[in-house]
Symmetry: C2
Subunit: 303 residues, 2 copies
């Protein structure tokens, strides 16, 4: 425990994950807790009931202010916190904080961000990632941030503001193609095959047609060029490579900060370094979320 | 019935479909029949049993030579007919005909074609489509052929030979994204919305990143820019547009022959004409298959 008394409860509350942090008055994380109360697992519990259920032991502090980020602020969440348009700084996010309708707790929810996509009229959105990005950008002030996941985000920050971002369906595409398309049929006993992965990355980098190239997972397996246990790595390389290709074409090769955890971050790091992104910094997703929640709480004078 | 006596039984026998034709000695289709004995529906029947089961009435002619094309010649089919490499003409296909191990019938199977893809070492394959293409190219001698479907093919023919082709996972991608990804979540009561379809085609034509653009099905629905009933048309436009973009980049805008049937052919025709492919000819898939089977049977002196 820190010498300082607890001053803030905050959580990254998404569709699947819930990560709770208890902060001291000097911004140290005193305790942390994860729970299986993502939006899709709430069951019959109300949001306040679910949150109260995890406020035990160190976290039994209903007197503290509570700050939440993530899908909890979506239309399907506790209380919608409308998207704030990019470019957006901490002050814009603070202005967009909304109160959750709680009976016994003081809860504020962080808004997501929206930004123009490359096509006129098209919009990108994020919820939760903005908090992680501010967790790093609040210190660095600028940078390019890559947040792998179901819908990977590439965001840019300048002078402490998130200026814009793109979304890629990379993670979900991998899952649906592997589980539900012919491309998964030949896969067996998946291993992490770095050669097959990099072959996929290389081919995607030179590609002009995703729909054609991705079919090679089938033909390469059919002709025995890639073993059944390596086809999953090859597909992964094609997808991540396709994403990196698009970003390189749009913005060139730049120093990037990878935010996240697990094996997916390792894959992105390998693919980025393989494709010329030699300056890659890694920040754990939990640390980024905690730092962002604290930065927003401070800027919003919650503590 | 034709004045000429029956001379050939031939079928396009795929994973799902089975289309049987009875030809007269002058190449007219005397009778035609479809049956639910695609490879995946064979159950406990052997190939010969399944084929015999549909040889009734006009087709009760076990004395005639039989020619089969399609997945029946794959490794999972009746007898594997190894792929013939492009460029390939009717003579090459005839040289690749294999005998099926039948007890009472005289059955030959048409080989599929293989061709180099745009990436060195990558291979494309087709089975069944080559017969449809020869059905048209045996007369025209040349052309660009588009065969929409689960895995759409774009093939080129010169001097009666298929010189090369590309495969696109367009049809299957549509199905898996609609059924198994977040993109289908907002779709409701699908209608054929030409505006949404062409919007998708236009956006795909200018796109550099499939994985990013396709996510707009989500955001356009979320922000109410495209109605729930039109999102399916929009996704369809993005996919077909992405395919047309790749072909345009590779080979430019050319006269094309669309081979197939059903609503999918209509969508391709609309997308092609919308994107500058003004010279589009349509040939029904059954007619192309019948003409191709006849051309191969003649070249192979089966009749």
């Amino acid at each position: 425990m820190s010498a300082e008394p607890p001053a803030l409860l905050a959580a990254d509350w998404g569709t699947t994950n819930f990560r709770l942090f208890l902060f001291s008055a000097d911004g140290e994380v005193i305790a942390r807790h994860t729970a299986n109360i993502g939006l899709k697992n709430l069951g019959v519990l109300s949001f306040e009931q679910a949150l109260t259920s995890v406020m035990k032991e160190d976290f039994a502090r209903p007197d503290l202010p509570i700050l939440l980020s993530g899908m909890v602020g979506s239309r399907q969440g506790w209380q919608e916190a409308p998207y704030v348009a990019c470019p957006a700084g901490l002050d814009d996010v603070v202005a967009g904080l909304v109160d959750a309708p709680a009976d016994k707790l003081r809860v504020k929810i962080v808004p997501g961000l929206s930004g123009d996509a490359d096509h006129p009229g098209l919009i990108n959105v994020m919820r939760g990632e903005e908090t992680q990005i501010f967790g790093v950008a609040a210190k660095t002030g600028e940078g390019v941030f890559v947040l792998p996941g179901t819908h990977c985000k590439w965001a840019s920050a300048e002078a402490g503001r998130i200026t814009g971002f793109s979304s890629y369906m990379t993670g979900e595409m991998f899952q649906v193609l592997k589980r539900h398309s012919i491309l998964g049929d030949l896969m067996e006993d998946d291993v992490d095959d770095d050669d097959a992965f990099k072959l996929g990355v290389d081919r995607a980098l030179n590609d002009k047609s995703f729909l054609s190239l991705v079919f090679s997972v089938r033909t390469e397996g059919l002709f025995g060029h890639i073993k059944p246990e390596s086809l999953s790595s090859y597909l992964s390389g094609l997808l991540i490579g396709s994403e990196i290709r698009a970003e390189s074409l749009r913005h060139g090769v730049r120093p990037v900060t990878l935010i996240g955890d697990g094996s997916l971050i390792g894959l992105y790091e390998r693919a980025l370094k393989h494709t010329g992104f030699t300056d890659v910094t890694r920040v754990h997703g939990d640390e980024a979320a905690a730092a962002g929640l604290w930065a927003i709480a401070q800027a919003g004078r919650l503590i």
